[in-house]
């Protein structure tokens, strides 16, 4: 995955490090009225990286809360999907076959 060109900009805040999503990109969509975390995830890939949002979800929720005036705890998080940690396909071939 090619990184974005940040060279000439003075200050960039990256919210999702795995997927290289900036605060600016998130704010642009929030300003368009997209404040649903499930939607932001699907349109920007924020939270879809190898850490599965463990690093960025809280930051994103905070940003949504700020924009909507909600309490952070009220922002609905995305559905958590397995796996808990990335695993090599080779490793997944091992073990028992099912009964």
């Amino acid at each position: 995955m090619a990184g974005k060109e940040y060279a000439k900009r003075e200050e960039v805040t990256v919210i999702c490090r795995c997927e290289d999503v900036t605060l600016e990109e998130i704010r642009t969509l929030i300003n368009q009225g997209i404040t649903d975390m499930e939607q932001l995830k699907r349109l920007l890939r924020v939270g879809m990286g190898p850490c599965q949002g463990r690093t960025c979800s809280a930051l994103l929720a905070g940003e949504i809360a700020r924009a909507t005036g909600k309490y952070v705890g009220e922002v609905k998080l995305t559905t958590f999907r397995p796996l808990t940690a990335p695993i090599k396909l080779e490793v997944l071939t091992r073990g028992e076959t099912h009964d």
Partner: protein, 382 residues
């Protein structure tokens, strides 16, 4: 609260969004789309994101062929500021038995008649297209360079945004709970946010369409079936086309982002609304894919999920008016290939609803075929 509209679209997947856009584009003034959760929360946002013209029946070949042509210019048509990530790097359909070789040659004959540029490739030629593929046991394959990939979230968003610009109202987190009628005619929809009166209603609710139709006393042969899928971490480009094996029941494609999307059709899957993810799937998928593409052994899986196919007995969609209930229409039963057909389906449904001459012979997709026994059994599905 009661509102009125000229048409209501139930379902905010790709089919509903494309239909709503086309209704507005054809001049329908007040269109309301009702979605129970968020846009693309159903099968659309869970799908394999593959688009192919290589089908085994005429109805499917036509819809896929012309939809893919539309995808080539969809960003311009919808004036989408982003990218729908459409890429045409082909589909390779692998044949592992004599019977498959025979079926695939029949499919190619049909596809050529319909102007689809597919061809038969030998195992040696397969190796040239996908150097990493293990060709052990392979008899050959069919290949069509026009097939490929498109991002379902972005494509749905593109239709939804264009629809909104044309005045379509989109209600998310709103569920249709009833379909009121006036004698036989549809009167509108009852939702968790009130009643919307409208003379035209279309159900594009995927696997849930059968329940909706039951509300007006119509039983459609549509069955939910779970299909599981996973995505890996992004890596450097290793695989151009979608590789699909009906023998193994698998498909796998590297998407522009760099991750591999892969899924499995399980012949023992129970037909219900179960959407759980299982360890067995991971295990089986990993075994099959590392046999076919050993280069993937070192690649890590980051996420798995599942979605529902809306299966019909002939694995072909049901499109058109429901004759018993004037004003009520259905576009569902896509049996695992509705994403790639949505551009044409959206157009077709809008034309039919507005009483215009449809561009395609819609009758062949009608629900009547099940009663008449004139089915189009699609052989090429995972």
């Amino acid at each position: 609260m009661t509102k009125t509209a000229d048409a209501v679209v139930i379902g905010g997947g790709i089919v509903g969004c494309a239909t709503a856009y086309n209704l507005a584009k054809l001049g329908c003034k007040k269109v309301v789309l009702v979605e129970e959760k968020y846009l693309a929360s159903g099968a659309t946002g869970r799908c394999g994101a593959g688009v192919r013209m290589q089908w085994g029946t005429e109805p499917n070949c036509i819809l896929a062929r012309d939809s893919i042509k539309m995808l080539e210019n969809l960003e311009e048509e919808l004036e989408y500021p982003g990218s729908i990530e459409f890429k045409q790097s082909g589909y390779l359909l692998l044949a592992y038995t004599e019977k498959m070789v025979e079926q695939f040659h029949m499919n190619i004959g049909l596809q050529h008649r319909l102007g689809i540029p597919s061809c038969w490739v030998t195992p040696e030629e397969v190796k040239e297209i996908v150097p990493h593929l293990n060709t052990q046991g392979l008899h050959g394959a069919t290949y069509c360079p026009k097939d490929g990939h498109c991002n379902p979230f972005k494509t749905t968003d593109a239709y939804a945004q264009a629809a909104k610009r044309l005045g379509v109202e989109i209600l998310t987190y709103t569920k249709v709970t009833d379909l009121p009628r006036n004698s036989d005619r549809i009167k509108g929809v009852e939702t968790t946010a009130g009643i919307i009166e409208a003379p035209l209603v279309i159900a594009c609710a995927g696997a849930y369409t059968r329940q909706l139709a039951r509300l007006v006393g119509v039983d459609l042969p549509i069955y939910p079936e779970r299909h599981q899928i996973l995505v890996t971490e992004p890596v450097e480009p290793l695989l151009g086309p979608m590789v699909m094996s009906f023998y193994h029941g698998t498909y796998c494609q590297q998407v522009p982002h760099g991750g591999f999307l892969m899924g499995l059709g399980d012949p023992h899957e129970v037909k219900d609304f179960n959407e759980d993810s299982t360890w067995q799937f991971l295990h089986e998928m990993a075994a099959k894919i590392t046999f076919m593409l050993p280069v993937l052994k070192e690649v890590r899986v980051v996420r798995q999920w599942s979605g529902l196919y809306d299966l019909t007995p002939d694995k072909t969609q049901i499109l058109g008016a429901i004759p018993e209930v004037p004003g009520f229409f259905v576009a569902a039963g896509f049996s695992g290939h509705g994403f790639m057909m949505a551009p044409v389906v959206g157009k077709l449904m809008a034309e039919v609803m507005l009483g215009l001459e449809p561009q395609y012979p819609i009758e062949m997709y009608g629900v009547k075929r099940f009663a008449e026994g004139s089915l189009y059994v699609e052989p090429s599905v995972v």
